[in-house]
Amino acid sequence: MTTNAATTTPLLEISNLTVHLAGGGDNPKPVLDGIDLTLAPGESLGLVGESGSGKSMTVRAVSRLLPNGASLDGAIRFDGRDVAAMSAAALREYRDTGVGMIFQDPRAHINPTRRIGAFLTEALVRNRAVPRRTARDRAAAVLAEVGIDDPDRRLRQYPHELSGGMLQRVMIASVLLAEPRLILADEPTTALDVTIQAEVVGILDRLRRERGLGMVFITHDLDLALAVCGRVAVMYAGRIVEFREADDLHRRAAHPYTLGLLGSRPSIDARAERLNAIPGRPRSAFEAGPGCAFADRCAHVRTVCHEVRPELEPFDDGLVRCHRVAEITRQEATV
């Protein structure tokens, strides 16, 4: 692989991705609506949103793990190759060495009846014909790398003997053993205690930098995404509503939904007189009207918002999907 090619071709390129799930009868339900994303090798990108925003569906589409009956429009390119067009063999290889997935609940994704050692070495032994002893040594080395003491003992243990934080490290280790170029992390720390979360994201961040891995990091916690990722996409009802450099987001957030998310979260430093809660509940893509999906919860709504679908357009060094963003920002500035 030439480094030159790596810098010019994005590792992951998603263009106009629209996904429908098989609904009742002839009505396929949209879950993603025109997602555009690119990820450079070694970059980390955050997808932030609430239930139904489509963040998990996006990474499932990337790994071609959409539910049965789902239909996909648009294109997903990994290293220039069209993921949708991959043959069974190419897809196996792509899932083996291309992308690695880390899920929220490791206990649901690790076979409880087999030892940690068997779980970690299976892919190496079967797919790559690595000798069992070598595979075991490599697994032990990676366990040490993700901060597990006494890896040899852990390899002999069963999943139920490990805590959630330990098991999530095992999950990360299993992904690293495959040496993928892209990690898709879907709420990897949501089920963990906050001190363990800090350790696990620290490990992910260090490994990403050391190994030049690309990472798509999904979370509902905006502040966590800002700490872990270079750029952050805020999603709502299957669309990206704002895209920004993480360092910029607190200062420059412009979409009413992003501002709403920032205002909703209580602060550890001081009690707010009242939280600026967004009224209503999060919508899914199939509940969105013809206009802006956020219109029915937005304080700045006008007729145009209900009728015309806003595009994701450049605004203040980011991308924002809002008809009224310029006006709203001016108003806020003059208040």
Binding site: V194, H220, A227, I268, R274, L275, N276
Partner: protein, 278 residues
Amino acid sequence: MTAQATTVSASSTTDCAVAVTNLTKVFRVPDGKGGRTRHTAVDAVSFTVEAGGSLGIVGESGSGKTTIARMLVGLERATGGEMAVLGRDRSAPARRSAERNRRAQELQIVFQDPYTSLDPAQSARAAVDEVLRHHGRFSAEQRAARLTELMDQVGLTDRQARARPRDLSGGQRQRVAIARALAADPKVLILDEAVSALDVSIQAQILNLLADIRAATGIAYLLISHDLAVVRQLCDTVLVLRRGKVVEQGTCDSVLDAPAEEYTRALRAAVPVPGWRP
């Protein structure tokens, strides 16, 4: 049946909504070698919640915070120590239904997942009405009025009030669970991770709602949470728990702004805030 209030210890006064002294819970758990061993989940914990006050108990998994809540509501029997609510001792399990009813009118609980704590076949209105029938001494008219008042208080529309849990969103279900708890007209409400599973924007709504309810009714809260920011928003005082032991307690301002203990500092430093780096 003794309706007489039993005083617990010198530190607990009748002004306290909740007074807990040296509360201890020991579980017998498998030791991994085929035998059993003793695990102290809650280790001599003492605290009080003032009438109308709000105490947050924070800690990580296995700290014993939920076990404390379960002992207070009577789902778990304490191994040692004393508990009193509104000055009445409840260290031992209630022996009669009258005593159980009285305890239910003193203290109620809202759990993390309203979906598993609501009857799937029962509409929101029916769920709340059932509690009013059981505890209230209302005429049919008064009961209907109280029901409407409760639904208004938690912000449920008529249509939502008639819906079953599966047709409601997570936030709406949690509103039903809160209304159901309030229907017994308790003086103390335990919120066991009651906002943890909610979406951020819904969590803010429920936190505002809980603050409003407390301001309007003077109910006391005991909030069990792993989230320091949520505790700060809703509570006056906080208790940090680790492996069953109290690490430190005090006002939110003192404990969160100037933690005396290393563990509290570590807990606080692990929370992602603007500028935080892993």
